[in-house]
Amino acid sequence: MDKLKFAFYWGASCGGCEVAVLDIDERVLEVLQIGDIVFWPVAMDTKYKDVEAMPDKSIDVSFFNGSVRNDESEHIAKLLRQKSKFMIAFGSCAHEGCIPGLANLHDRESIFKKVYKESVSTVNPNGVTPQTHYHVPEGEIHIPAFHDTVKTLDQVVDVDYSIPGCPPNPDIIVAAIDALASTVDEKFAGIMTVNGYKIETLPPKGAVLAPNRAQCFECPLKKEDKRIDKIYRVYEKIPEPGKCLLDQGIICMGPATRMGCHTQCMNAGMPCTGCQGPVDQAEELGASMMTALTSNIGLDDEKESDYDPNKFIEQIKDPIGTFYMYSLPASILKRKVMKK
């Protein structure tokens, strides 16, 4: 074997993950020493039938970003799984569903109604909504069917590893490529310049390729007292620099969120919103953070006889958007119950 074969694909995503691949900067040259890219729709003109023609397991690593919410994504997910030795859920959408996953609070019908008929910027006098088949003079066009439910990649195919983040931090991407490549063939060890988050040996299948600890571990902000007596939204308070945001009443998902991004948000004075997902031993990110937070708000007030917990609960605006911004499809909740 001379070089490894890599594939990249995007499902329901914003494109940020594609850019994140380039964010590894000059290290992309090191990647090219290790492998060739055989499939990358955003950058190369490769047809699906070319992939279909490849022998099974002939691709070494497929990096799949985006969640799965239509027939096309599902088809390619299954195809790449069949053709690849390693199937990687790349980025938060593939890993946990991410922002597109919030569509699970609705269903196809209500989304189509809003987007194609009711939104103020829409002009659609005939009320046309996407169809799966459409006749044009040249013949019939097949358009992928839109699903009611946004799924994570591992809800559709067998996934070997996940790389977290929205998008993944370049150092996490490099560390993952380094570990995957050197596992396939030792000769690829040492080529990649790994700046932190180095993976010594590839963990068991199914693992998330980032340290199994929460953000606070590497957060530079000083943590002092978690007794929170008031919750502020980001725009309501200029935080004191250098101090833990959660200590100051700004909901920071850091305590529940896996590290591996060099705490970029907190470095910029913004709270963690949880894109890296939970750690291994706390599967439910949103619930974990809710219990953590509610255990600490009003600790002093609850000693009073007229204590009213609603006072605090009302301060948490948009709980799903706060606690499940990235992880609704991957959570126990998964989606809003569909009316049959």
């Binding site: 606070c216 007292d225 031993q281 706390a282 974990s288 953590a292 600490n296």
Partner: protein, 653 residues
């Protein structure tokens, strides 16, 4: 990987308590077919010796390594079966207990089929969990054979004496300048109607001279850390400013400050330099910082070196194995019931003031004189339940001591002043203690006392010319409004929760009941224990009570505190929260949620933080485990996979 589970399942008939409703044979048969279950039997009384023997024999015969018993509440017999399996070498944490009596047969007696199904569900869950249970070691900690008693009233003194008599060194901390507490203010004890002072003096003298009692008056407990066997307590000694006994009457006379005497319930005044009462212990003067104006006159008058106005508070740390809280209580402030006129009309006094007026060492030398004109009152009305049995003022409880105290006061007044007529306005007379009812009968027989049962006093008005009072109430027996003009009114004020209870509860991590008194662990089975092992409560701190009950509790609490100290070490439950430092991110979420202050935030060499839960402080409540957002804290015996297995077993049965 631990050995393959070999589970024995036993379903108890409990005579017919369970088997009359639940088909126990069917349940045993069902459990026998579940994975890893080697034997499954139903038996008439599992807790009996033959029942326990059955388990032990099966363990040996079938090499069982896990056991499940479905019977009554685990409160009842979990310890029984844990001990039984441990006798034959199975760790007691590889045992699961299922309650199919209180939770099944007794509550579903009319639905036997559904009850049987529920018993199967519960058993299936326990079997799923016991498969994943792990052996745990119980922990032992050594116990310092010293005790701290907080509060130097009758309860605290008695508790300290009992502990000291058993040979344990005891620290007695009292916030006032003298020990003695509330009882020191009383003149007559009920129902025996004897003088209070001699009895109290005997106890106080013993406390003062006992070689094993270390008395700390004018002192406060300001910090408590540690756990049973090893409490570290910081005691703050407030400055007395008086160094020795060379204070003469002249030293006191020159003091220009005059404030109402707390001891005489405001009926007399004292100086800023004072002794609380005649036989105070220690018999030292004190200058109280709150009223002293630091004029220095006493310094000039007293022999040199007697007074030190610059003396500062000092702190002392003591290490003890157990703590008894005997802080007593406060007294209801009758100003909260303005219709009674307390604080407005001079001749409306409270029960404590009456004690002072009838005490030979009191401001009137024991002569019962009414405050407005120092005349002996010819007619006196007692009003009972002031601030007790009164939900309107937030005090629904019975204050318990006041009916009998009133009867004692009434009796001594009738003996001393045979011409005085007395009225008692009451909700009920509750004279339940030994000889209490006899006293009630005796007082009624004097013919000097009119008892009026009334739900409440409507109003008390003063005749401004005579200072007499008109009590207006509804006689509940006659269903008629009535009025009585009297010379003096005595309000039987209820005991109230101690004023500093909240702070002390926080320091000691003990609970308070909704009424504000300290809360016992269990109202019947553990009336002197608190949720914090090694800390006990006694006397009025726990709820209103009379001297008899206070003494009984004091001696009980001393007895409870002596147990771990006599044993030298205590065994703690093995389930507790454990932090995995490799998973902990040091977010500090767990730090303040713990009611027992068990998590401690530590720093690694690289400056990162992590939490460590103190084994000895942890009670295994699981709050931090739930709060930890990164799953770094595990609850032994209730691990996530163990609990999830139960839920799965329930949902997939």
């Amino acid at each position: 990987m631990s050995e393959e589970p070999r589970i024995g399942v036993y379903v108890c008939n409990c005579g017919i308590n369970i088997s009359a409703t639940v088909d126990v044979e069917e349940v045993a048969k069902y459990a026998g077919a579940l994975p890893n279950v080697i034997v499954s039997k139903a038996y008439i009384y599992m807790c009996s010796d033959p029942g326990q023997e059955l388990i032990k024999q099966d363990i040996q015969k079938h090499k069982l390594n896990r056991v499940v018993v479905a019977s009554c509440s685990p409160r009842m017999h979990e310890p029984t079966f844990r001990a039984a399996v441990e006798e034959v070498g199975v760790n007691k944490y590889l045992y699961e207990h299922v309650n199919i009596r209180e939770h099944v047969s007794w509550v579903h007696a009319n639905e036997p089929e559904k009850a049987t199904e529920k018993a199967k569900d519960l058993l299936r869950m326990a079997i799923a969990k016991v498969r994943l249970d792990e052996s745990l070691e119980t922990r032992t900690v050594s116990v310092i054979p010293k005790s701290l008693v907080i509060g130097g009233g009758i309860t605290g003194m008695q508790a300290a004496l009992d502990l000291a008599d058993r040979g344990f060194e005891t620290f007695l901390v009292e916030k006032e300048p003298s020990i003695g507490g509330r009882v020191a203010q009383l003149s007559v004890l009920s129902p025996t109607v004897e003088e209070a002072r001699p009895m109290l003096k005997k106890i106080m003298d013993r406390v003062a001279t006992h070689p094993k009692i270390n008395l700390m008056t004018y002192s406060d407990v300001v910090e408590v850390s540690g756990y049973i066997g090893n409490f570290e307590v910081k005691v703050k000694h407030r400055p007395r400013h008086v160094k020795n006994n060379n204070v003469s009457a002249k030293c006191v006379e020159v003091c220009p400050v005059e404030v109402p005497s707390e001891f005489d319930a405001g009926l007399a005044s004292r100086k800023a330099i004072y002794t609380p009462f005649e036989d105070s212990i220690p018999s030292l003067y004190v200058i109280d910082d709150e009223t002293c104006i630091k004029c220095g006159k006493c310094v000039d008058t007293c022999p040199e070196g007697t007074i030190d106005l610059d003396e500062q508070a000092s702190e002392e740390t003591i290490n003890v194995g157990t703590i008894i809280v005997a802080t007593g209580g406060g007294v209801f402030d009758a100003k909260n019931k303005p219709e009674l006129g307390f604080g407005k009309y001079p001749n409306v006094i409270n029960n404590l003031q009456l004690e002072r007026l009838t005490d030979k060492a009191g401001p009137t030398k024991g002569k019962l004189l009414r405050p407005s004109d120092n005349k002996i009152p010819q007619k006196i009305a007692f009003i009972q339940c002031v601030g007790a049995r009164d939900p309107d003022v937030g005090n629904p409880w019975c204050s318990r001591f006041c009916c009998q105290a009133m009867l004692g006061q009434v009796k001594s007044i009738t003996e001393e002043y045979p011409k005085t007529q007395l009225f008692v306005f009451h909700k009920d007379i509750r004279a339940f203690s030994n000889l209490g009812e006899e006293l009630y009968r005796e007082v009624r027989g004097t013919g000097q006392v009119v008892f009026v049962r009334t739900p409440e006093i409507n109003d008390i008005d003063e005749d401004p010319e005579t200072g007499n009072l008109i009590v207006k109430a509804t006689d509940e027996m006659l269903q008629m409004p009535m009025e009585a003009e009297v010379d003096m009114v005595v309000l039987s004020n209820a005991l109230a929760p101690p004023q500093d209870a909240e702070e002390l509860a926080r320091l000691l991590v003990i609970a308070r009941s909704p009424d504000g008194f300290f809360l016992e662990l269990h109202p019947k089975l553990s009336p002197l224990d608190t949720p914090t092992v090694g800390i006990y409560i006694a006397g009025v701190a726990q709820g209103p009570k009379d001297i008899t009950d206070s003494i009984a509790q004091a001696r009980g609490a001393a007895s409870r505190a002596a147990v771990p100290m006599a044993q030298g070490e205590v065994e703690l439950e093995a389930y507790l929260a454990v932090v995995d430092p490799d998973l902990c991110s040091g977010c500090r979420i767990c730090e303040h949620v713990c009611p027992y202050n068990a998590p401690e935030i530590k720093e690694r060499e690289d400056g990162t933080l992590y939490s460590e839960v103190s084994e000895a402080l942890c009670k295994g409540c699981g709050v931090c485990v739930a709060a930890c957002p990164s799953g770094a804290i595990t609850m032994l015996h209730f691990k996530d996979d163990q609990l999830m297995s139960e839920i799965e077993a329930l949902l997939t049965g």
